[in-house]
């Protein structure tokens, strides 16, 4: 899923302090699971903002709504009738949702309430870590199911580098060396001999480098 983190309240206040009618829109998908932008976080942000404006002696209206998803037009339509009454929207969805909301209601200023971080997993409650960078050409089949592009600090396709120490990455003792993980996994699978195959130079054109990406599927298109 997409992992996000709540923006500091000061930053949100700075963005919306001159508005009086505010709608906070949460998302029921990834950001709910990673506890950054679901119904609960919408409520917390709303009460913090109410408190702030009250202390400032400013009369404001702050409402809350959480949509099933903000990356689908269908769900964004659900607020079409009520959005007119607000002068600003804060979206707690990932950057995708924020943009799609802004695109759908282009007359309204839309501000982000979270920092979108990466595609990752919940290691345990409160700990999320990266697993994929969406390079568009999956190589997991040859790396024992561990992605060096997202998990090696140098995205080495033929690692490890000389900095790998006791299973940890040279940049942090808290970070596993992806290549140590790959080697351990290949060993477990009895495939360590594959380590000596040189991974060819990668075609990055399917990655960010190739420009904004699109998938078009004629077979499912309507």
């Amino acid at each position: 899923m997409i992992i996000a983190e709540k923006k500091p309240i000061e930053e949100v206040i700075e963005m919306v302090k001159d508005f009086r009618k505010i709608l906070i829109v949460g998302c029921n998908e990834c950001v709910t699971v990673c506890e950054a932008g679901g119904k609960r976080e919408v409520a917390v942000l709303a009460s913090s903002l109410r408190m702030y404006f009250m202390n400032q002696g400013k009369d404001t209206q702050i409402d809350e709504v959480t949509l099933e998803r903000q990356c689908d037009r269908e769900y964004l339509e659900e607020i079409r009738n009520r959005i007119e009454q607000y002068d600003v929207v804060i979206s707690l969805a990932c950057g995708v949702g924020v943009q799609f909301l802004a695109e759908t209601y282009s007359r309204f200023p839309v501000y982000p309430g979270v920092n979108t971080c990466f595609m990752g997993v919940t290691e345990e409650r409160g700990v999320w870590s990266e697993r994929c960078q969406g390079c568009g050409q999956c190589i997991l089949g040859s790396t024992g199911g561990i992605c060096p592009i997202s998990r090696c600090a140098k995205r080495l396709l033929n690692g490890p580098c000389g900095g790998s120490t006791k299973g940890k990455c040279e940049i942090s003792k808290d970070l596993d060396c992806a290549w140590q993980l790959i080697i351990d996994r290949l060993k477990e699978l009895d495939r360590l001999d594959e380590y000596e195959q040189i991974a060819p130079i990668k075609d990055w054109s399917t990655e960010r480098a190739g420009g904004p990406r699109r998938v078009v599927r004629e077979d499912v298109r309507q």
């Binding site: 600090a153 140098k154 995205r155 080495l156 396709l157 033929n158 690692g159 490890p160 580098c161 000389g162 900095g163 790998s164 120490t165 006791k166 299973g167 040279e170 940049i171 060396c177 140590q180 080697i183 351990d184 360590l192 380590y195 000596e196 040189i198 991974a199 060819p200 130079i201 990668k202 990055w204």
Partner: protein, 309 residues
Amino acid sequence: MSVKTPSRLEKILDSGQLAVTSECGPPRGSDPEAITKKAKMIRNYVDAINITDNQTSVTRLCSLAACIHLKLMGIEPTLQMVVRDRNRIALQSDILGAASFDIHNILCLSGDHQKFGDCPQGQNVFDIDSMQLIQTVRHMRDEGKFLGGDDIQRPPQMFVGAAANPFADPFEIRVPRLAKKVAAGAEFIQTQCIYNLDKFELWMKQARDRGLHEKIYILAGVTPFKSVGMAKYMKNRVPGMDVPDDVVKRMAGVPKEKQPEEGIAICVETIQRLKECEGVRGFHIMAIEWEEKVPEIVERSGLYPRPRD
């Protein structure tokens, strides 16, 4: 192995003599004297001088320009090139730039993560990795072609080197990794600084068991300690460095003013022991900001005089 380039380093290694290389870090400024001065100190004691490429990710005068300064002095440079800062366009372009000055040695590296340097907030590139950079230089040299497939007019003639760290983890793939670099086309290796000689000799033995010592020239890397503080720093702070406790103890066992001498002695003893290690074809002396000691190390190790053309 037969000579494939005009590199002097390659010629010396091919002749069976022990080679000696050293390295200079370029300055954090544009004064060429910072390089030429160091180079003058050591030029008669080494066969080639590596110029580091923004080592530890600290911004410095570029390796290529510093190599050109050496070349203009009649010294043979080894261009270090990391894949951290440049994509395949820039790498190939710099290789051609170096080739236009007849720079005949290149050392292909990943490069330390930028986190360690003066621009920790910068981007990194890592378009290709060090293994693939070896392949790239060999492709440009041997096929005379760019990665994109077009012909190169006057292809680079470079003796292609790589680094090897026998002490990084996991140890079990250290020799397979060397084999991989050989397969990618590396022709010489400069190793990480060696303090744990037993471990290094074990690595060499495993390399010999696979016959790798006959496919690639291995130059053993050494760095003299200036002080016990430096030994401790290298032991605890530098990723992938293996400094055994007894070496630190030995440095700590002599008074402060005698420590530099002790550091040189350890370095000389290391070289003498490794001269006997089958498959070690030379030494790479990295006297970090202590270049003036290189002549003494070379002489005391019995590696002087150097071969003349």
